[in-house]
Symmetry: C2
Subunit: 458 residues, 2 copies
């Protein structure tokens, strides 16, 4: 059944409670303007920042959000909703405004990455999709930035499609990791969809299918002379020697660009492979490493002076084992101009519509201020109007390469201490100040709610 | 761009190296029959079995696998492939056989879950999609089975769509966790696509949008009298008292089925909520727990005698933090009737086409034998022909409910010790024996390859 429905264009990609709440809002006439903000409560362990990604899909979703005839028919058959509500859904459109930090922007805990200002039911319905897309893409971009830093300028290729959680994660991780600086992806469809360079060479199965390794190398380079040869199917250093034999055979016309090692003790094998290649006059042939590597192993190899020229990273890029999810929330912060918040244990939030101001000094970020949206604070406001009355603004259109450049600038502007792969001590974390006015607004609302108060006074 | 291409029907959802290898195979005339097997090398920590899921999507993909005109046009523009190969792709179809363990079957390390017998290029191209789908669905089903066991018969709802890695993972985790015994999903599209019960009630934002909590409860129950009320937006026990006040107001017509607690110390709060409800004569009102729970916390609550009646599980169900990925492999084990294997350090595999035999005693599984496919061994053979010459066989068609029943039977038949949530000591793990003939075949091939041998003798 997945053949005929695109979840990125389906209004049914939502949680049932969004629809039951919508039905209640509709019946109650609660269609006043709501402000929802999306943020994460805290940084995962050993993450010192998050890169915002996924906004382009969200704006595309909001532009096209409709309940189709078949959707409405199916909802009618559920028996949960009355005709009046279903008629309302038939004409449902997203008519609100979206403010967001541009894709590729570095953000910190409690800073809104996205702010939706829309009639309450519209802002409510989209919660599930909005969280789903910003979560996976920001997660992948953030991990890719760490992996890129660990590579120290060497190219990294995304090889993760087979281990990503489903097809969408594979495509989105390819997109997000390119945004964060990865050189390209092995996923052909992602390359076509997003214009990302497509990378890849040969698998062990190709070598195994041939009578022997040299025959496989020979046949492959006939077709793809400038390829990368995978040398570890049987014995890595023997594999390297076969590449050297191949070079002798081909002479001047030998064009192999690189070899790839996908297993074994890379710290030992790569230097030995380098020596073998160099001794054979194959200094231009590069060495690429893959095989379950993460940023720590990459960093160790490079720190140890191992002559590695590039990396192929799969699982760890697309399913970060150390932080497979982030505690991302989409919260109502204002309804009909009055601030709202939750008091649930350990889950209080900052009420009211906000803005994030980033202060810089000589091009370097020095601290952010989280403030009410209509305050004046020093620094650059990060939340930008991307959509107005349901249509993208000029700021709401950009290319993936724009976002990639922005991300690189953002990473370069970070205080260098944030680039460590380790957990920073709290006193070294990036300073995010809460403005006095926002702090006061929170205090006022907490006192009011604790007093059992009804609608807060603003 | 995600609007017009369905990755589940796109031949481009593959790694570039599959296509370069195909081009080389095509040029070399290497279209002999290959056997690829998909298995995981080892169980993740604290997993004592894996539930096979995802096959239905794979068979659907293989049935529809085509290179469309736009795909071919785009590939031509890449400049990597010649006209002859592109013409070959234009008529590409999957014409092979697929043997697999039925969805819902419990499997162990090194047991093939899927076996593809097809012309080499066809078996090669599909690697990326096949791994991608079996990985996420088996991962989610396996976690859901643990969560279901921890719930001890109490219903569990999948609330994970917002934290799943992309839209596909959200839908597939809903499907796979239902297959493994979860009661239903909050994802409306998954419910529509797969016929899974759709569950859900209200969010904190609904309560916050109203002037006060009681007004919110009152308005919601007017529309949905038999709902579940979320009581922890401000103060959990105050929230429970407001439900009791609501019950007094509504009298006989009060129909609220349950309350939900989504935060705080549930071990303390749930018994107190139960007492408040019971003292008010609301014994039939059930208590549901949610809020970042995993199977360990569920188990602790139940062991402590906390009167919880059901669970909503999100993040941990769809992105298992303790095992976010499994080391799944798709390996060439035979080409043109001769066995193949890899010798890469720590990654040797079992050569040759295989079968898995499961022995039972009084309906209880007692051990498996991994054997060559044409051996006779005691027990039930698990790999079944699901697709023949590119078309589904009668065994290749089943409903999700069939798979759900099979999974329940499989889980019930496991040795009870495997249901622990903890890591089993190696001596207690499920016994998987390798047949003498398979062991001999491996030994023969290792000696042959180590001797630098060319094509192995069989």
């Amino acid at each position: 059944m997945t053949d005929d429905i695109n979840p990125h264009r389906s209004a049914l990609f939502t949680d049932l409670y969004e629809l039951t709440m919508l039905a209640a809002y509709h019946a109650e006439g609660m269609t006043g303007t709501a402000v929802f903000e999306l943020f994460f409560r805290e940084l995962p362990e050993r993450r010192n920042y998050i890169i915002a990604a996924g906004l382009d899909d969200i704006l595309g979703y909001l532009e096209h959000l409709r309940f189709g005839k078949a959707d409405l028919q199916w909802l009618a058959e559920l028996g949960t909703f009355d005709r009046d509500f279903l008629d309302y859904l038939a004409s449902f459109r997203f008519t609100g405004d979206v403010h967001a930090v541009p894709e590729g922007t570095v953000v910190f805990a409690n800073e809104p990455m996205l702010q939706v200002v829309a009639p309450l039911p519209e802002a409510q319905l989209i919660e599930t999709y909005v969280l789903n897309q910003l979560h996976i893409q920001s997660l992948a971009a953030s991990k890719a930035a760490r992996i890129g830093r660990a590579a120290g300028g060497r190219p990294v290729a995304d090889f993760g499609s087979r281990r990503a959680h489903g097809t969408d994660a594979a495509l989105k991780a390819a997109r997000a990791s390119y945004l964060a600086g990865v050189a390209g992806t092995s996923n052909v469809l992602a390359s076509r969809l997003y214009g990302i360079p497509c990378l890849g060479t040969m698998a062990h199965s190709y070598v195994q299918a041939h009578d022997d390794e040299l025959a496989a190398f020979d046949a492959f380079t006939r077709r793809f002379p400038e390829t990368t040869l995978l040398v570890d199917t049987y014995d890595t250093l023997q594999g390297v020697k076969r590449v050297i034999e191949l070079a002798r055979r081909w002479g001047e016309s030998f064009g192999v660009q690189a070899i790839r090692l996908d297993s074994g003790n890379l710290r030992e094998l790569i230097p030995r492979a380098r020596t073998l290649l160099d001794d054979a006059g194959l200094n231009p042939v590069k060495i690429m490493a893959s095989g379950g590597l993460d940023e720590y192993q990459m960093h160790e190899l490079i720190e140890a002076g191992v002559p590695v020229d590039g990396f192929g990273i799969g699982t760890e890029l697309v399913v970060p084992g150390d932080a497979p999810h982030v505690d991302l929330s989409y919260k109502l912060v204002e309804y009909e101009s009055s601030p709202r918040m939750k008091l649930s244990a350990a889950k209080t939030s900052l009420p009211g519509r906000k803005q994030v101001f980033r202060q810089t000094d000589n091009g370097r970020c020095v601290g952010d201020t989280l403030a009410l949206h209509d305050e004046y604070q020093m620094g650059e406001p990060l939340l930008t109007r991307m959509m107005s009355a349901g249509a993208r603004t000029p700021d709401g259109r950009w290319t993936l390469d724009d976002a990639r450049r922005r991300c690189a600038r953002n990473l370069d502007a970070l205080p260098p201490r944030l680039h460590t792969l380790e957990q920073l001590p709290p006193e070294d974390s990036y300073p995010v100040r809460i403005s006095d006015a926002l702090e006061e607004a929170r205090g006022r609302l907490v006192r009011h709610l604790n007093a059992g108060g009804r609608r807060p006074n603003v």
